[in-house]
């Protein structure tokens, strides 16, 4: 039932009716998880491993589109955004990267690793009070990932990481929602709600959930194990060694 190479791709909704129909032999892997959970560190370690295994890798990340990133940063610096304009800006950023980065890379047979995907918009918009059905329709142009790895953490374990990392940020603490005047309390409330929402989405969409409280190396091995499993299923090739080339678990 699995075609070779790559599984059949699926649009989430109506997709992009105007683009020329082309085969997408690459693999789309999304890494989801809340702010400060360690997504980028893990992605940085995945790339060299996959490249040593012979896979070409392309990265794409939330709000990094050349068309929108500046606008989004400017808008976040001001006080003009509503939940709706916020959501639509994210959707435009996503669409720009989908058409200019993700689809071309998939056509060329790359593994695309997406740092956050549409599920982040689903979770955030719901917490911010936007109509969840509307959010999902807006993202109807999205391609469904082949694999979603969800870095799961509880808010108690998240807090020290964020404080020791880059600190609590205005937006990631949900201060715009006026949940309270105290940054810490607001962070705790906002992130708990986000995590609840991610967990709900995880069961709805069948994410593979990994325990993000694990030490970096162990978490990396977990992620590699799941990716190797997916790739062997999708390509019909023997499984990659998750502890193979460049594995951070090797000590010598």
């Amino acid at each position: 039932m699995v075609s070779h190479p790559g599984r059949a791709k699926t649009w989430y909704g109506h997709g992009l009716p105007y683009i020329a129909k082309k085969r997408l032999p690459g693999h789309l892997i999304a890494i989801e998880g809340t702010d400060g959970v360690g997504r980028s560190a893990q992605i940085q370690l995945l790339r060299p491993w996959l490249e040593l295994e012979g896979y070409a890798v392309s990265n794409t990340g939330w709000t990094r589109s050349p068309l929108l990133s500046e606008t989004i940063n400017e808008a976040k610096a001001g006080h003009q955004l509503t939940v709706t304009t916020f959501s639509l800006l994210y959707a435009a950023d996503f669409a720009d990267r989908l058409e200019h980065e993700i689809l071309p890379a998939l056509q060329a047979g790359f593994i695309v690793i997406a740092d956050r995907y549409m599920y982040t918009a689903f979770a955030r918009n719901r917490v911010m009070g936007a109509d969840p059905h509307w959010t999902r329709e807006v993202f109807g142009m999205a391609l469904v990932p082949d694999l979603v790895l969800y870095l799961d953490i509880d808010v108690e374990s998240l807090i020290p990481r964020v404080i020791m990392g880059k600190g609590m940020d205005y937006w990631e603490s949900g201060m715009h929602l006026a949940l309270g005047t105290d940054l810490f309390d607001s962070f705790e409330r906002y992130q708990s709600r986000l995590i609840d929402e991610y967990r709900r989405l995880s069961s709805e969409f069948g994410f593979i959930s990994v325990d993000a409280r694990l030490p970096i190396e162990e978490l990396q091995s977990e992620l590699r194990k799941h990716i190797a499993e997916y790739l062997s299923g999708a390509t019909g090739k023997p499984r990659l060694d998750p502890a193979g080339n460049g594995a951070p678990t090797r000590k010598e």
Binding site: G13, H14, T71, T84, W134, G140
Partner: protein
């Protein structure tokens, strides 16, 4: 209206393909190997049959919109209407498509460097619209003023679909829009609009001529082909949304007379004295 009370889009009632809901659960891959998700957004649809665009808005003010292709003369007519309303002491607020500062930078960058795709073009305009809805349309309507909108969501429904986005998708994106009290559709043959545009300025604008769609390398020919598609869709929208067609080839004063009669109709039960902005905002701009 509170967010949670908002009716959801009625996918089944819109033109275009069937909703994902109606497809068999295991949808086979199409020839490009890309199928549509069997638990896509429509599967989460509730049963509320009407969108905001199909329901009269509850506010004291009035929302009047003009639609039509470039060169149809709609902005001229709206200006004349505005003069008339102000002279009669009505509190008027004017808002224009694609005028929000929020996305100006992205729009300019996208157009200059030709980065826009039909989807990002559509979404940037949706940001502009949502921003103006919050700051330019809703407050004056709630204050009981008369809002004049040069282009409304029907512009997106016509242009973006002519560019190739899915008609249901663009309707869903704009499902936050209010239904206008009156939408005037300025119907004009392509040749007349072209003549008007070319006599006014030397060159057709790139996106206005639909050059991004790649129908023709010649701007005039591209305009003709692209705007013909837009016209065709506008004609369908006229029926779908009850827009009032105006013969945009008629003489300007004649069109204005027709329009003022229609506007008087929707102002019949309008209580000018209850408008908060009355007297303060009725000065000419």
């Amino acid at each position: 209206m509170r967010e949670k009370d908002r009716p959801v889009i009625d996918a089944a009632g819109s033109p275009g393909g069937p909703a994902a809901l109606e497809l068999p659960a295991a949808e086979p891959a199409s020839d490009d190997g890309v199928a549509r998700s069997s638990h896509g957004p429509e599967s989460a649809a509730g049963s509320a049959p009407k969108t905001l665009l199909e329901t009269p808005h509850p506010y004291r003010g009035r929302l009047i919109c003009v639609e039509g292709i470039d060169g149809s003369g709609k902005s001229t007519q709206l200006l004349l209407l505005e003069r008339w309303l102000r002279s009669r002491g009505y509190p008027v607020h004017f808002t224009e498509w694609n005028s929000s500062r929020l996305v100006r930078h992205s729009m300019q960058r996208g157009k200059k460097k030709n980065l826009l795709t039909p989807t990002t073009f559509s979404l940037l305009h949706a940001v502009d619209f949502a921003d103006r809805l919050t700051y330019q349309i809703l407050p004056p309507l709630k204050a009981g003023m008369i809002v004049l909108a040069d282009r409304y969501v029907y512009t997106a429904f016509a242009r973006d679909v002519a560019r190739g986005v899915h008609p249901e998708w663009v309707r869903a994106v704009y499902s936050l829009a209010l239904r206008p009290d009156l939408t005037l559709y300025f119907r004009v043959p392509i040749d007349i609009s072209l003549e008007r545009l070319l006599s006014g300025r030397a060159k057709l604008k790139y996106h206005e001529a639909g050059m991004d769609v790649g129908l023709s390398a010649d701007p005039v020919e591209s305009f003709r082909l692209f705007q013909s598609r837009v016209l065709e869709i506008y004609d369908q929208l006229t029926l779908e949304f009850g827009m009032r067609p105006i013969d945009a080839t008629a003489e300007i004063p004649h069109q204005q007379r027709v329009i003022r009669t229609m506007v008087q109709e929707i102002l019949r039960d309008y209580d000018r004295n209850r408008a908060n902005g009355n007297g303060v905002t009725s000065r000419p701009r």
